[in-house]
Amino acid sequence: MGIPIYPVHLEDPQLQGFYDGLAAGELRITADPGTGAWVWYPPEVVPGKPDTVLEWRTVSPEGSAYTFTTIVRSLLPGDHKAEVPFTVVLFESDETPGCRVPGVLVNADGVEPACGMRLRLKPVQAGDHIIAGFEPA
């Protein structure tokens, strides 16, 4: 299985917190500091509370796949490199059910991807940057 190599575009600097987490080997999710509620993906404006500034919190790297797909023909635009096929999962940390983090399935040769499969965070290098990866737990 390959991985996609496509630049990370952080138009919203708030999203840097996610990649800071990956660089530290951690999965970080945004929460409302006032209520403690998870707010994911971090929106430009928190619903009904536009002045709220979300904070990044480290969550459990263990969880499961809500769903997946194995990409045989990459549809990423432009001059990118993608070693197809690769499998993308929507990962839910055990600590934040319903907050789904897209990532690449890694270290899974011979493993049939499935909804509900147990996974753990495994950040991976993709060219000059780190992306979210998940490996079978």
Binding site: I3, P4, Y6, P7, V8, H9, L10, E11, D12, L15, F18, W40, Y41, P42, P43, E44, P47, Y66, T67, F68, T69, T70, I71, V72, R73, S74, L75, L76, P77, A82, F86, V88, L90, G98, C99, R100, V101, P102, G103, V104, A114, C115, G116, A126, H129, I131, A132
Partner: protein, 381 residues
């Protein structure tokens, strides 16, 4: 709103081409003029116009087709098929009932071969650019493939059952001389179709089309004096969820739960009928999996039974509930939602040759666009 006060009195479309040579405005003008002529009208008779945020507006189109008086113009603020197959009909009825105009023109067109491609708008979404594109989760086939795998996990769905959706619509397209893909396709040919994102193959995805369609809406009492059998708008319902485009395909608690149950309930209530009264349906098939799920949401079968419904042949020619009788978006052509609505009108008028559903009187049409969904009930009076 009450049903059966307005009718679709004219329909028109361009050829559906894999790659055309005309501009979008040119194709839309061709479709508009065809629809106006089909209604027995001239451009000067059209005094209402409903566009959409994705296509050229009435300033340009009114000039291009020779409108004289735009007494009413509006833009539908929903995406994809929901707009021309549902929301535009609500606005048209409101404007006609208010006495603002007599004949409303609704065009829609698509130039899938334009520079930037059909998925260019996804790339402009900051959350997708930051969190999804770096891991390759990008493009409609990938989003809907992930839904298909979850649906299969929740309800069960074999490869053969999923394939039967695309195969069913192709059977209808074979009978439609204007369909874009008419070569017969069985399971063997389906399996030769290239895989894009598992389990979706090219054959599971809507076509790449350059084309345009348009229709005219008029009051029912005027429609009686116009050229064709009267096809009334008996019910229209719109459903929405609260997930903007950037999060829709990942954070919706059930990613394949489109707001189709809500739209169908509203449309059936307005029409005073239920799914058991339908003679046929046109279901928005951006993808085989999304059509299968909307088939359930319209009540053509139970929830979780869509795969079996198609595999058992109920939607095929001669089946108990024909679906996508033009070949749909998978095989007929892809002008989001509107060519499905027009096929519904043509079937209710009658005379569609080999694909005509006998004694068709009531047709449901569904439209899906981002976080919105429409259901429309058409009835021949």
């Amino acid at each position: 709103m009450h049903g059966n006060t307005v009718a679709i009195t004219g329909v028109g479309e361009t050829p559906f081409l894999r790659k055309g040579t005309k501009t979008l405005i040119h194709m839309m003008a061709d479709a508009c003029l065809a629809a106006i002529a089909d209604a027995g009208l001239t451009p000067a008779d059209i005094d209402g116009y409903i566009g959409n945020r994705m296509v050229p507006g009435s300033d340009d189109m009114g000039y291009a087709i020779g409108m004289k008086d735009r007494a009413f113009s509006a833009v539908t603020d929903v995406a994809g098929g929901t707009a021309p197959a549902g929301q535009a009909l609500i606005l048209a009825q409101l404007a006609i009932e208010a006495g603002l105009c007599r004949h409303v023109l609704v065009p829609y067109g698509i130039q899938s071969t334009k520079p930037g491609g059909v998925y260019g708008f996804h790339a402009k979404e900051p959350l997708k650019a930051a969190l999804e594109m770096p891991v390759g989760f990008f493009g409609q086939p990938t989003y809907f493939a992930s839904m298909a795998n979850r649906y299969a996990h929740d309800h069960g769905m074999s490869e053969e059952e999923l394939a039967s959706v695309a195969i069913t619509y192709r059977e209808w397209a074979v009978l439609n001389p204007n369909a874009q893909r008419r070569e017969p396709m069985g399971l063997e040919e389906y399996r030769l179709s290239p895989m894009i994102s598992t389990p979706l193959r090219v054959a599971d995805c809507c076509l790449t089309t350059d084309g345009a369609c348009a229709y005219v809406v008029s009051a029912v009492d005027r429609a009686a004096d116009m050229p064709h059998p009267v096809v009334q708008v008996s019910g229209v319902g719109i459903g929405t969820n609260n997930f903007p485009h950037g999060v829709l395909f990942t954070q919706n608690p059930c990613t394949y739960e489109y707001p189709g149950v809500a739209s169908a309930a509203k449309a059936y209530a307005m029409a005073g009928i239920g799914p058991e009264d339908l003679d046929l349906a046109q279901v928005y098939d951006g993808f085989s999996i999304s059509a299968l799920i909307q088939t359930e949401m319209l009540g053509l079968c139970g929830r979780g039974e869509g795969a079996r419904f198609y595999h058992e042949g109920h939607a095929r020619p001669g089946g108990r509930m024909p679906v996508n009788t033009s070949g749909g978006h998978l095989s007929g052509g892809y002008v989001p939602g509107i060519n499905l609505l027009i096929e519904g009108v043509r079937q209710l008028r009658g005379g569609e040759g080999a694909r005509q559903v006998p004694d068709a009187r009531i047709c449901a049409v569904s439209g899906l666009g981002g976080n919105s969904h429409s259901t429309t009930i058409l009835t021949r009076s």
